[in-house]
Structure formats: C-alpha cells, structure tokens
Subunit: 313 residues, 2 copies
C-alpha cells in the first residue's frame, strides 16, 4: 500500500453493506482524497451522513459521479440499468466504472450501453459479505483476504483493469480475472444455488405449525442454523441475483434436483451403499476446501476455521 | 455439580467423536469412578488406549457393560441392534441404558427388545458434534450449553430418566424431554434434511469438470463452504440416520422439493415478487434463531456468533 491516495475522487453508488464497507476502507487507508456517495433512499443517505462515510451525498447519480476517476456501483444488480442511465451525463471522460454485483453478464448487458465513449467498464465481484444489510452493517476489513473476481470484457483497457485491481489489493483482497459467463456459472454453484436452497429449507420450516417452528429454532444447531444465516441475507439483492443469473441457476438447480431425487430413491428403497458412497465422495471436496484454507488463502475468522465446533444430527 | 461421582461404573460402547467426548468429560469432571469401553475396531481401541480414555477396553459388548450402572450406546444407529443383543447377557440388574443416536424411534425398536426385565432404557440425543469422527476428534466440552433431548417411552422409571438427565447436566448440557416420534420429525427438519441437501449439493459440484471443481473450492466462501462442512460428516453415521428415519425424512424432503419447484418456476418466469416475499419471510426465522442465541441458550463459540463475518454472493 502506497502512502499516496490511489484516486482523487471515488464515487460510491449505493451505500449498503458493500458500499459502506468500501467507503470505510477507502477512508481508513487513505485510498482516495474524496468520496462522493449516491443512494436512492433518504434514510440511508441520512444514516451515511451521520456515520461520516462520504464527503458528499446526493440522490442524483449524475451529481455523485461528477469529477470522479472511479465509480463503484454497489447496488442490487436489478438496479444497475436505471442508475447507470441516470449517472451517464455526469461521467468524466476517462473515468473507470466498476461494480460489485454477484452476477456479471447481466451487469455488462445493463450498464455497458449507457457508458459514453472513453469511459472504461471493469465489472467486479468481491466474494465477501455478511447476512446483514445497510450502511451500519459495513466494516473496513470486510474484504481482507477475500477473493475479488474481475470480468473485464475483451478489449477493456488494461490500465483501467489494473487501477480497479490495485484498489481491491489495497483493500486487502486477492484479485483474479475471469470471463463473465464463466463467473456466473461458477458462482451459480458456489453461492447462488446454496442461497436458493437455504431460502427454500428455511421457508419449508416456516410453513410448519407454530409449535414445531419454535422447536426447529430451539434445536437448530443440528445443521439448520447454518441455513438460517444464509437465508437471512438481503431479499432484494438475492431476488435480483436469481432473476439475472437465471440460465446458470436453473441449469445447476436441475442437476441438483436430479441428484436429490437419486438420494430420495436410495432412502426410500433402503439402498445404504448408494448413500455411503456419496457421503464418502463429498468428503474429498471438503478436504480441498480445508486444504485451501490451511494454505492461508482463506480468512481465519471464517466460520469453518478448524477450532470452531460444528454440528451433528 | 456435586463433588461425588454420579456413577460408580459407566460403560461407553463406541469410542468415536461422541463416545470419546463423553469419556473425556466424565473423566475430567469426576462423574464416574470407572469407565469401561467397547469398540468393534481394533484401531479405535488401540488409539483410545493411547489416549487413556477408558479404564478398560474390549471388543466384547457383554464384557464392557458388566457391573456398569450406566451404559451409553455411542454407535451409528444401524449398529445398535447387534451390539444391544451382544451386550444383553452382561447387563447388571437395575442398569440404565441410554444412547446418543440422531434417530429415536429406531433405537427403541432395535435396542428395547434385547434389554432384560429390570434394565431401564432412556434414549437420548445430544444436539452436539462436529464434522470430524473418531476418538481423536472428541473433546471434553463438546456438550457445554448444548441441548440434549431424552425420549423415554411411556412408563419408563422416572428415577432412571433423572439419572441420565443428571449426567448430561453435569456435562454442561440443557436437557429436555420429548416423544420419540416427535423428536424424529423435528430433527428431520433441523438436521437430517440439511445434511441430505448439503451432501447433495457438494456431490453435484463433485460431478463438475476438474477445472471447475477447483474454482468451486477456491470461491466457496459465497455459501458453498458451509455446505462442505456439513457434508464432511461421518458417512456411516449419516447413512444410518437416513435409513432409520426414512418416513420423516421423505415427508420433509417432499415438502422441500415442492417449495424448491415453486422457486424454480418463479425464477424461470421472472416472478420477482414471489422470490422477494419468501426471502423476506425467512428472515423472521433467522431472527428467532439469533434471539434465542442472544438469550444465552446457545454456545457463543457457534459459527454464527455475531462477530463472525458470514458470506454473500
């Protein structure tokens, strides 16, 4: 990390968990001289002002991006198109626009067309967050030791890519690059499908009678509690993820459903060997995850750190 | 906790994660004068001997239970019948037999018929564990602040129930009682279905191409990693859970599949409101889980303790 700020002015559009965390780390590490913020919600702007997250706050995207070298879209992915259109008139020539959305093909589709000639677009996705939302939920080291995937379309100015990568590295992140379609497929497995399933099972429990629901909550340590954490994530953000990564999610969901049906059949017919074989194979994937963490590329504060007791049935 | 040992002799049958943790806490807190151990595996017996977990170790269940006031079956639930039959000739009159299995109707069905007149059976289930297995994986405070559910059949001697409850309270646990069938239904939701789903999704990822598999492991912080921890649990134990709680698991799995199909349809047809409504409702369950934890009834070391950053997409 150099002593000099990386940017003169950064614009952060959307002051939620990720946007407010970016504001905090940029401020804490002196990565920009000035932060200009936009949020569509008056309540969020008021709270962001109280927290001193930005040097200026506005409800006008064009005003927020005026004079900014770097513009960071930190919105639910479904909100990108409207905000991109509204901010376009304010963009400075040569500005770099990036985002933090969990879906990358959709943001290229929604934002790209509104960016004037000479403005660079470097889509990005930090694999970081919590199940909490809003400007109070953010913290400066949210991105420490986390992966950030950049998905610049072919032909993107390498210098613009490097400036975005440098910002993330200064936030403590490990930066990698990937094709946007490939990103969306990988994340469908690692994140979108797990969230969809967690939302589903918690919803299934919600439909139990009230007395059973209380017991489900009380005895949730047997595995269910992990699912409730995931299913406590921001509803609008996740609605937009599923609507905007439809093909990849449906494809993975189809595979998952087939595999689940196979297990269902094995349970019904008492085929113990089918179950045991699968349960043994999945340990290999777990080993890979644990080994990668032990290699030091994962945040030690993660819930599956070796010293944390987990659950059983 | 009284200064005097709760039991003269305790027999622990099965020296895995739970059995070895029980041996450790009973030893550490002086809850028994003598611990007699059985395990069917010579390697496990040798390791348990090295660790000094028991005062005697044998491969003969009848020998292990001889003279024991309390017998604790700590086996995969599918192994209970054979071990119960083998131990029966050694049981002392008036002995109390309990277990730690994740399914309770099946253990009553499998163990009950082998117990002689005058021996008391108090089935139990500690909602505690980790994804690790074997005698090295146990630790003395595994049961601290965890729930233990006892499911004594109607007519069970209340004094026998109280002796088992006293042991668990001395291990730091909170003890509740429940009908066995009801237990199996509640645990199907809180534990068995979550494990089945975690095994499935990790298996689905396992079937991806090798290069994608590596990326799934690398970017697993987006939710998938929680599932890999659950899916790293003991294959034989979990095979037996599903084979022995078939009806309740299939019933909950059916409900889950219907709910998942509804979401699948909403994604396919772009019905954002359906998704957002569910994702908002599931937050209520999460709130209940968090509130119960804040009420101090959950272990603060749990992975979802408030200070742990969780994940996002």
């Amino acid at each position: 990390m150099s002593a000099a700020p990386t940017f003169a002015t950064v614009a952060i559009l959307g002051i939620g968990l990720i946007g407010s965390s970016l504001a905090r780390v940029i401020r804490a590490r002196g990565l920009a001289e000035r932060i200009q913020g936009f949020d569509g919600s008056a309540a969020v702007r008021a709270r962001a002002a109280e927290l001193g997250l930005c040097d200026a706050l506005t409800d006008d995207p064009a005003e927020a991006v005026r004079g900014a070298e770097l513009v960071l879209l930190c919105l639910p992915v479904g909100a990108n198109a409207a905000v991109a259109e509204a901010m376009a008139p304010g963009l400075a020539p040569g500005a770099v626009v990036s985002d933090v959305g969990s879906v990358k093909l959709a943001v290229i589709r929604d934002v790209g067309p509104f960016l004037p000639e000479g403005v660079h677009f470097v889509p990005g996705h930090p694999i970081a967050g919590t199940e909490h939302s809003g400007p109070d939920a953010g913290f400066a080291d949210l991105f420490e030791n986390r992966y950030v995937i950049l998905t610049p379309p072919p032909g993107t100015d390498p210098e613009a890519v490097e400036r975005v990568a440098a910002l993330w590295r200064a936030c403590g992140s490990m930066v990698s690059e990937m094709d946007a379609a490939h990103h969306d497929k990988v994340l469908a497995v690692t994140s979108h499908l797990p969230h969809l399933i967690a939302y589903t099972i918690v919803g299934t429990a919600f439909d139990l009678e009230a007395s059973e629901q209380q017991e489900v909550i009380r005895y949730s340590a047997g595995g269910f509690r992990d699912f409730t954490r995931i299913a406590g994530s921001d509803p609008v953000m996740w609605r937009d993820v599923f609507l905007n990564n439809r093909e990849a999610v449906l494809e993975m969901l189809q595979r998952f459903s087939e595999d689940l049906t196979t297990l269902q059949r094995a349970i019904r017919w008492g085929e113990g060997q089918v179950l045991e074989d699968l349960f043994t194979r999945t340990r290999e994937i777990r080993r890979g995850v644990v080994e990668m963490r032990q290699a030091g590329t994962f945040d030690a504060r993660e819930p599956d750190a070796a010293e944390e007791p987990a659950k059983k049935g």
